[in-house]
Symmetry: none
Subunit: 215 residues, 4 copies
DNA sequence: CATGAATGAGTTTTCATTCAT
DNA sequence: TATGAATGAAAACTCATTCAT
């Protein structure tokens, strides 16, 4: 039950658009610096230096500084997020989880791993969301549609088996993601000791399972 | 059990340091614009225009643009957050909550109200945290110390009465704040329909109470 | 019969908009350099150097480099040209010329003096016209309307007196201005020995008078 | 009495220096774009795109962007203008014009046709002249020498026959070319309805003939 | 105290030109 | 010979900050 991580998808994306070696370095440098110092505090000269190229090279392919940001964020918005969400839902349907517990345990671990594997991208995303709420609105809508479609029937099963509280699907997701997000964000933003995923999963799941038990 | 909101404390703060009327307008304009467009995307000229003063005036009192940011954030960091936290803890001790439920219900509602009442300041705070994790680290440490001191004994009570799961205080706080934060952040950042606090409190508490029930 | 020259009108214009001393120097430097090297071959740094100010100062008032060009050309297009044309026509009506010859002699000398007095502005104007024909079209239309209104009746008089050929007014103007323009342009563009206006007036008029004699 | 137009001479010139098909496209693209947007507002990338070649190819033969401009203007300056002027003078000597009128009519029509047939080149030429008066000075000198030599004797004939005013040759030429230039420039620069050459010739000649009649 | 003109370092961006493939 | 990625110098423009009035 291996999940495709962003690095791989990103790499695909890069190969597709045939980026030269230097251009890939530019993209990588942007990723690092945007995550480290924020978009506006990163100068294109900084990027050029870190990538070991000239300033002209930064603009040759990506045209503008914003183009560089989009080159990082767009795959997330339009490709990778939906694709990961799709894969995730497929995974849910294919594999039969013997209980809601094993299901929730998988979900929590999977999402946490994903987030920690892609800290940098996440951080930039969060920065942009905070500045430009429109991104968040769009994303929220996209994801809620994707999830609602695939998850409703699944939740229904668990509700019938008496393993899951009889709430609206979105409320359940909101609660669960709230806990996960609340746990993750500090770890994504501060570069603390990189989180013991197994232990965290245990803690979160224990809490979630009781909070979402049928009354 | 009215809680002192930031506006009031802020006003105190301003009076203390003897800000002229124009300087207050400058501070207010900064607050609005930093929240709206982010710190780096706000020019000191923007601030001057919105405040209806000259560019020189923006610097007369606050010396630098960063000084302006600090004038907004410092009260949060060094005065208001702790003070509010202190008040909050005092309140806990003064008033006897007849059950953990009424306690948690108060906490959730209080913190939510506080956050929604101070959206703008929150937004700036979040933006700065995301860019500069040091702020978050400091804040986390400060708050955890403050809370731990006052809350441990309180939690012990409820645990003995069999109303609260026997976990480490920090873990309980982390879970609870995770749910609250996960719920709030989207509302602070997007200017969605401004959140029905009573309904949200009900939903969150129902969930928390079962998640934090003793096993 | 003194004609108001551009310098004076320009000065008015500057006083009106309250330009600081340095900003006037910026405008003057732009005028000189645009005329000398052309708009695109003049850098804002060049302008700053010649004006003896910093580069920032160049942009403080005029916002963009194009703004600087417009600040030079607009008075010509929208104020000075029409105003001069108006004055010119008024002058025609006020003063009674005893013959078509004295009339044409006044016109030729007046226009030539005007052009030579404002070489720099003329040169920039010509440069922009050549690059952007729209300017020429607009200007041609504006002037032809202005002139047609005031000149028709005047020409009619001279035609009746048998001093002027019975052609369409526009054709007469085209011929006369053709000769004048053809004579002037080389002198405006090359900074040759600065043209003996009296001698040139004699030459041009002798030619025009016979060319425009009734058949 | 067909006059060799620039296109043809240009083609000769190109063949001589063995331009590859791609290089010809580069030259053609430069011609179009320089005329349309001006030299400095045309980038070598623009040229490459319009010519359908790579950026490197633009420089392969012409070395620099200025080289490209020279490749367009030099034939005018050093080959085509003089050659056309020479052809023109030869034509004058070979063919006997029965009157000054038929002579002037031929000249006017010939020069007008030439100018309208080579609008683009003319426009670039004018642009460069306006920016760099040296070109104009050189050209004026070259042409005046060429013309003076061939034209003096011819004018003498007509003066003796009583068909031409007894002015200095240069003054006559200046007057005539003034009228023609004044008429043409607006048409070269603005892309107005492309000029009825026969009608214009009539108008111009009627005017010129009387202006240049002996007194 | 307040003003706003002036500053100049820093930023994004363009573009002619080179050169390895 | 043709390509187009890479270059880096120079351009236009921004902006926090200073200071004479």
């Amino acid at each position: 039950m291996k999940h495709t991580d962003v690095e791989t998808l990103f790499a695909d994306n890069i190969k597709t658009t045939d980026l030269s070696e230097k251009q890939q370095k530019v993209l990588q440098a942007s990723l690092t610096l945007f995550a480290q110092k924020g978009y506006e505090n990163t100068s294109t000269l900084d990027i050029a230096h870190l990538a070991g190229v000239s300033e002209g090279t930064v603009f040759k392919h990506f045209k503008t500084k914003d183009g560089l940001l989009q080159a990082i964020l767009n795959p997330f918005m339009h490709d990778i997020f939906p694709r990961v969400a799709g894969e995730f839902i497929d995974a849910l349907h294919e594999s039969i989880f013997d209980s809601f517990e094993s299901f929730i345990r998988y979900v929590v671990k999977d999402r946490m791993t994903y987030a920690m594997d892609n800290r940098q991208e996440m951080k930039i995303f969060i920065q942009e969301m905070v500045k430009n709420p429109a991104i968040m609105t769009t994303l929220t809508n996209r994801l809620s549609k994707l999830i609602q479609g695939g998850v409703d029937t699944l939740f229904h099963e668990y509700k019938e088996k008496g393993e899951l509280v009889d709430w609206d699907s979105m409320r359940i997701i909101r609660m669960a993601s709230g806990v996960i997000v609340g746990y993750l964000i500090p770890n994504v933003i501060m570069s603390e000791t990189p989180l013991d995923i197994d232990k965290t999963t245990d803690e979160v799941c224990e809490f979630l399972l009781d909070g979402l038990k049928p009354r």
